[in-house]
């Protein structure tokens, strides 16, 4: 078991190296020259060449890559071309709102979706079930920005119960203002995950409820509630946890849009600004950061399987 955990942790290293290589190449090979963007519309060819020299962009690509990896290992993601600040510092400044938004979103989604899916499965074919399924299809279909503006219109502009935009840190400004500001973006972003997770939970629980050991539990005289919580849910958990993991990956895309809609100063906004400005070091840093977060989440999910199901031993 310990050996499996060690092997699984070590196996993330080649993946991270590959990701780093791809990130590096993808951006170098993309059309567009940051040096000419920095130099501006009226720059001469010499100006552009000088800037390119300063940034190291005229060196051979292998040298650029090695230089980049070397600094990466020391925790240096480079400096922003435009602001001149270290990328790690920029990410550090913006990480909290994004992390908080992701955390509240996924927590809210799981807390709502798992019971909803279980209920739908338990009452499969009933009105409740049909409502949950209908909600799921709807949740998949509505884009985040459309839903965001609809919710803003209802809760902020018409009812006036929640703010239109902004972010308050729970650490410096207290949990009350934090929740007040995070609720709307979080709910908006979570709808699609509720749909996804509820659907998967429903399918998985329906399958498990057909199993022989559920019948055994009934034969013991166990109540339906306990059958669901004790026997069905844990057996249904592996596919649900997998989908939650996928959900966290998809969340990254959703965060970018949601932060724009609700004007939250997080990583999503940083991504957007960097892409528009072709600020290579920031884009690289962010893609790497998100990739590593995702690799880490995958690791946690893989390891959680062994806790959920004793039959899974590698």
């Amino acid at each position: 078991m310990t050996r499996y955990i060690i092997m699984r942790v070590l196996s993330t290293i080649p993946v991270m190296v590959l990701v780093a290589l791809f990130v590096f190449l993808m951006l170098r090979l993309a059309p567009g020259d940051p040096a000419s963007v920095i130099a501006g519309d009226y720059a001469t060819a010499e100006d552009v060449a000088r800037i390119r020299e300063q940034l190291g962009l005229s060196d051979p690509i292998v040298v650029q890559f090695l230089r980049w990896v070397a600094s990466l290992v020391q925790g240096d993601l480079g400096t922003s071309i435009f602001s001149g600040k270290p990328v790690t510092e920029l990410i550090g400044q913006r990480i909290e709102p994004t992390l908080m938004l992701a955390l509240t979103t996924i927590t809210f989604a799981v807390v709502v979706a798992v019971p909803l899916g279980t209920l739908a499965a338990f009452r499969a074919g009933s009105l409740v079930d049909r409502f949950v399924m209908l909600f799921s299809v709807g949740g998949f279909s509505v884009p985040v920005f459309v839903l965001g503006y609809i919710l803003i219109y209802i809760f902020s502009m018409t009812l006036g119960v929640l703010p239109v935009q902004g972010y308050k840190s729970p650490f410096t400004e207290g949990i009350g203002p934090f929740l007040y500001h995070i609720t709307l973006p979080s709910v908006t972003l979570s709808v699609i995950f509720i749909a996804l997770i509820a659907r998967m939970t429903r399918a998985s629980v329906i399958e498990v409820l057909e199993e022989d050991y559920i019948r055994t539990a009934r034969a013991k005289g166990q109540s339906e509630m306990k059958i669901l919580t004790r026997h069905a849910l844990r057996n249904a958990a592996v596919p649900v946890v997998t989908v939650i993991g996928i959900g966290i990956a998809l969340l990254i895309g959703g965060v970018v849009v949601t932060e724009s809609v609700f004007n939250i100063p997080g990583l999503g906004r940083l991504v957007l600004d960097a892409v528009l400005a072709r600020d290579y070091p920031i884009i690289q840093g962010l893609i790497l950061f998100f990739s590593f977060v995702y690799i880490f989440i995958n690791l946690i999910i893989d390891l959680s399987y062994t806790l959920l199901d004793p039959r899974i031993r590698y």
Partner: protein, 533 residues
């Protein structure tokens, strides 16, 4: 005094089923301290009867429309869910066919037994644990303290069934319902479990309703017998009456269909050797971080020969390696070492490309006809696929398929239909036709009749014997069932833990087994009620 009285019970099937009632007008009694066996083939309604008594039948699909089910005087069709839940476990308990799936895979077995006490008693955690250990000791599980913490997949089939029995009996119910509890077990394990059930039942004076399809098991365990067919009880009485002098023609037919342990006279085959293995070895294992990890020897140095026109039986319990031998010969798995000679040519280490031309020479029929046919393809498509891959034109392949349908006793228009439109026995006939379409020299039957009802089993055995003669096939017949092996094999090989412990002509081995393991197997075969017994 009877603990259970079922009177005129009729249970309706949902609209659109093949018959209106799952069970009709069923009347039976289980006396205290006695075992009632309900015998029948699949679809006879025996399980519906059992599940109705437990209140476990889905009432939306299976609606009781008339009759009563009195458990110790209380009609369970008349009580609410809470009361029913209380009766389950306290007054009546149930054990099931497949102990692997009947136990929750993610909970420790001790906790699953303990759950019974948690639901029905106010005992503290440590008191419950003591009771569970007692119950586990009672069913003779080794080292119950340690086994308490095991998960189901870490136990053997027999141990799992003992856990189920311990769970069912912790609260000392007056009625135990056993639904084919030994069908999924090996024959020696089956004998032990049957003995255990009978011992405990005697000791506690419990009533038992025992569902089975196997008259051998009935002979071992029953006091009373009820025979069911198409939802009705056709005959019931004491075991001596029903087995000794069956009145109903259906009972007579079922008893006659039970294969006898006495092998019939068979001619010695003299055809050329079609299949031979030499020192065949298959080991499974993973390379460890440092050198060899855990290695399992599934097959150890197996030598066998099969002549054309001859049937060689490989008999053994689960894990004996008998199916691995078949898979090595088919090259569905790669042998670790040794030779597999097909018509004299060694195919054991041929690469996939070279192997292809040999594939048609060996065909296999699997155990489960439900899962070995693609449900989305018509029977005809499944049968012609192989021959067409080997260069036959579509029209020729179809013509051959139509001929083969007649050989296996089906009508040629069956080719246009889908597998789900056939019964289990018919599907197995289709699988045999599919194998024959390749014009093989060697036919492997891997537990090919084990999933079939006993009357259908006899017919499929006849068919296999018939096609062996007709096409001069070398047949390798793999089975765990000694009764079946006795009927169809010219020679048998007994395997245990990957090794051949004994082999010889079937009649010789059965009459005079040399190895202890063979003797144990033969002794464990249930209800030796063949004509000579």
């Amino acid at each position: 005094m009877s603990i259970l009285e079922v009177t005129n019970l009729t249970v309706k099937l949902p609209d659109g089923a093949d018959r209106p009632f799952a069970i009709e007008d069923v009347t039976l009694k289980v006396e205290k301290g006695q075992i009632l066996c309900i015998v029948g083939e699949s679809g006879s309604g025996k399980s519906v009867t059992a599940f109705s008594v437990m209140g476990l039948a889905d009432r939306r699909a299976l609606t009781p429309v008339s009759g009563t089910i009195k458990l110790d005087g209380e009609d369970i069709l008349d009580i609410d869910d809470a009361r029913l839940r209380k009766l389950r476990g306290e007054k009546m308990s149930m054990i099931f066919q497949e102990p692997m799936t009947a136990l929750n895979p993610v909970l420790r077995v001790g906790d699953q037994i303990s759950e019974m006490l948690e639901i029905h008693t106010d005992l503290t955690r440590s008191q419950r644990k003591t009771r569970v250990i007692e119950a586990m000791t009672d069913v003779r599980l080794p080292d119950p303290e340690k086994m308490y913490r095991s998960y189901p997949h870490q136990l053997s089939g027999g141990q799992r069934q003992r856990i189920m029995i311990a769970m069912a009996l912790t609260l000392e119910p007056q009625l135990l319902i056993a639904d084919e509890p030994t069908t999924a077990l090996d024959v020696t394990t089956q004998a032990q479990i049957l003995k255990l059930i009978k011992d405990i039942q005697r000791r506690k004076g419990m009533g038992v309703m025992f569902i089975t399809h196997d008259f051998g098991v009935v002979a071992e365990i029953a006091d009373h017998v009820a025979v069911m067919k198409h939802g009705r009880i056709v005959e019931q009485g004491s075991v001596a009456e029903v087995l000794g002098a069956p009145k109903d023609p259906y009972t007579q037919k079922l008893i006659a269909a039970v294969p006898s342990m006495i092998p019939p006279e068979r001619e010695v085959a003299t055809g050329q050797i079609a299949l031979e293995t030499d020192d065949l070895v298959k080991t499974y294992g993973q390379a460890g971080l440092l050198g060899q990890g855990r290695v399992v020897k599934a097959v150890r140095e197996v030598d066998l020969t099969v002549r054309r026109g001859e049937t060689l039986g490989i008999v053994g319990e689960s894990g004996s390696g008998k199916s691995t031998v078949a898979r090595c010969i088919m090259r569905l798995v790669d042998p670790t070492s040794g030779e597999v000679l097909i018509n004299g040519e060694n195919i054991a280490s041929l690469r996939e490309g070279q192997l292809r031309s040999h594939r048609r020479d060996i065909q296999i029929v699997f155990q489960d006809p439900y899962r070995s046919l693609n449900p989305r393809r018509t029977v005809g498509q499944s049968i012609v696929e192989g021959p067409v891959n080997f260069g036959l034109s579509m029209n020729e392949a179809k013509a051959r398929a139509a001929e083969l349908m007649q050989v296996v006793g089906l009508s040629p228009d069956a080719l246009e239909r889908f597998p789900h439109q056939f019964s289990g026995g018919q599907r197995q006939r289709i699988c045999i036709a599919r194998a024959l379409a390749m014009e093989p020299m060697i036919l492997i039957a891997d537990e090919a009749v084990s999933a079939l009802d006993v009357s259908v089993q006899a017919q499929v055995l006849d068919l296999l014997d018939d096609v062996r003669k007709r096409f001069d096939l070398a047949m390798l017949f793999i089975t765990h069932d000694l009764r079946v092996a006795a009927q169809i094999c010219d020679r048998i090989m007994v395997m245990n833990k990957g090794e051949v412990v004994e082999s010889g002509f079937t009649s010789t081995v059965y009459a005079n087994p040399q190895h202890d393991y063979t003797r144990a197997l033969l002794a464990a075969a249930p209800g030796q009620i063949g004509p000579a017994a």
